[in-house]
Symmetry: C2
Subunit: 236 residues, 2 copies
């Protein structure tokens, strides 16, 4: 079951977007409107990202970078949550919170372990400069950053998974998708890739239950990246 | 004259292809045919790469990865130079010499200095897995690997330079091309990018003179990456 390359979902799988976004919003709200429902605005911002991608995937919107989807949603949410006094420079800065998301505690070490066994690359719906910034912010070393903008398609469109395989010159069966989301892995499997589920139970704070899986649901099911590296070492 | 991102040509500019390829061929010839003209076969292999890309750029050939261009040329050159006894596994291995080219002595340190000032990324005609391997082999840390296969165009086609700018969401005037080849920089300038020439006088061993430039020919002219980092530091 060895894979020559691992492709990683990023938001939720590698980085704790909920923690980073909610703590940034929290600091802002303390100054501007202490009654702000931080959890609600954080989750609504994330939901708007999914809705924005769906509009593109359905053909209702032309291609858009995730930064743009985030920004449009931010303006609406600031208005709805009584934070509309934010200036344009403050909004630009706040939108960049998605470029500075903290890795989970195991991410850096686990990724370095996995990189000794195979190529490690992102396969994210984020735009490229967002991923470049996350790589720097988290002090991560990827072999490559695959992102939606390269293909002008969002996951789970086949162009993303198969495009990354093609660019690495690897058949899908030699590539494994790593994600904390069942739908991402199910799509990857349907296009011939292998699958590794990594549990991130606090992805949505503790507000919404995160996806879960048990052994057998996917090729691998791991508690974190270090666990995944150890499991892969034992089977290769 | 600050640039938010630097794009690097790779073969010759970052790595010593002549030294790595000729020393690998030399070891092989010692065993198989000590009379082999190592310089001639090394230069001919490099020339075949340019010819192969021209065929694609002229529309005479469909899109091809550089690995394929290298391999086709290798088979012809082995025959011409009395080394045709090489087995298929040996040929596969030999062709991968282009994935294991030594960086110049200043490359790693200079790149790390430059990365503190701006994004640093490749913009190479090599295929992606070749660049991933060179990154690992040279222990280099790039922000991203831009390569011909992303755009299905070779430099100096505009799709490469402008494609990298677009994916980083930067206007060309905020991006600087770094190369040891005048033609690469002239093309980049014609599409609005800035230019930095780095002298690599022994790019072709000492068999063929390498490109040279004097101050004023380009936005920057430097002796190596460390010199370039120091010059950029002083002007930003």
């Amino acid at each position: 079951m060895s894979a020559k390359a691992l492709l990683f979902d990023v938001f939720g799988t590698c980085v704790d977007w909920f923690g980073s976004v909610s703590s940034t919003l929290s600091k802002l709200a303390d100054e501007l409107n202490p009654d702000t429902d931080i959890n609600a605005i954080t989750l609504a911002w994330r939901q708007a990202y999914f809705d924005g991608m769906s509009e593109v995937r359905n053909g209702n919107q032309p291609w858009r970078r995730v930064d743009e989807i985030h920004r449009e949603a931010l303006d609406r949410l600031l208005l709805e949550h009584g934070l509309d006094q934010l200036s344009e420079p403050q909004r630009i800065q706040l939108n960049l919170v998605w470029h500075r998301l903290a890795p989970w505690p195991d991410t850096r070490k686990g990724l370095a372990m996995l990189r000794k066994q195979s190529y490690v690359a992102t396969l994210s719906n984020g735009n490229l400069d967002l991923l470049m910034d996350l790589q720097r912010f988290g002090k991560l070393q990827w072999d490559n950053l695959f992102c939606s903008d390269l293909f002008q398609h969002f996951k789970p469109d086949p162009e993303t998974y198969l495009g990354a395989c093609r660019l690495m010159n690897l058949p899908p069966e030699q590539v494994m998708m790593v994600a904390s989301h069942r739908s991402d892995l199910a799509a990857a499997e349907s296009f011939g890739l292998r699958s590794a589920f990594v549990r991130r139970p606090t992805e949505f704070g503790n507000i919404i239950p995160a996806d879960s899986a048990i052994q057998g649901d996917f090729d691998y099911v791991a508690d974190d990246f270090i666990d995944l590296a150890q499991q892969l070492e034992q089977t290769t």
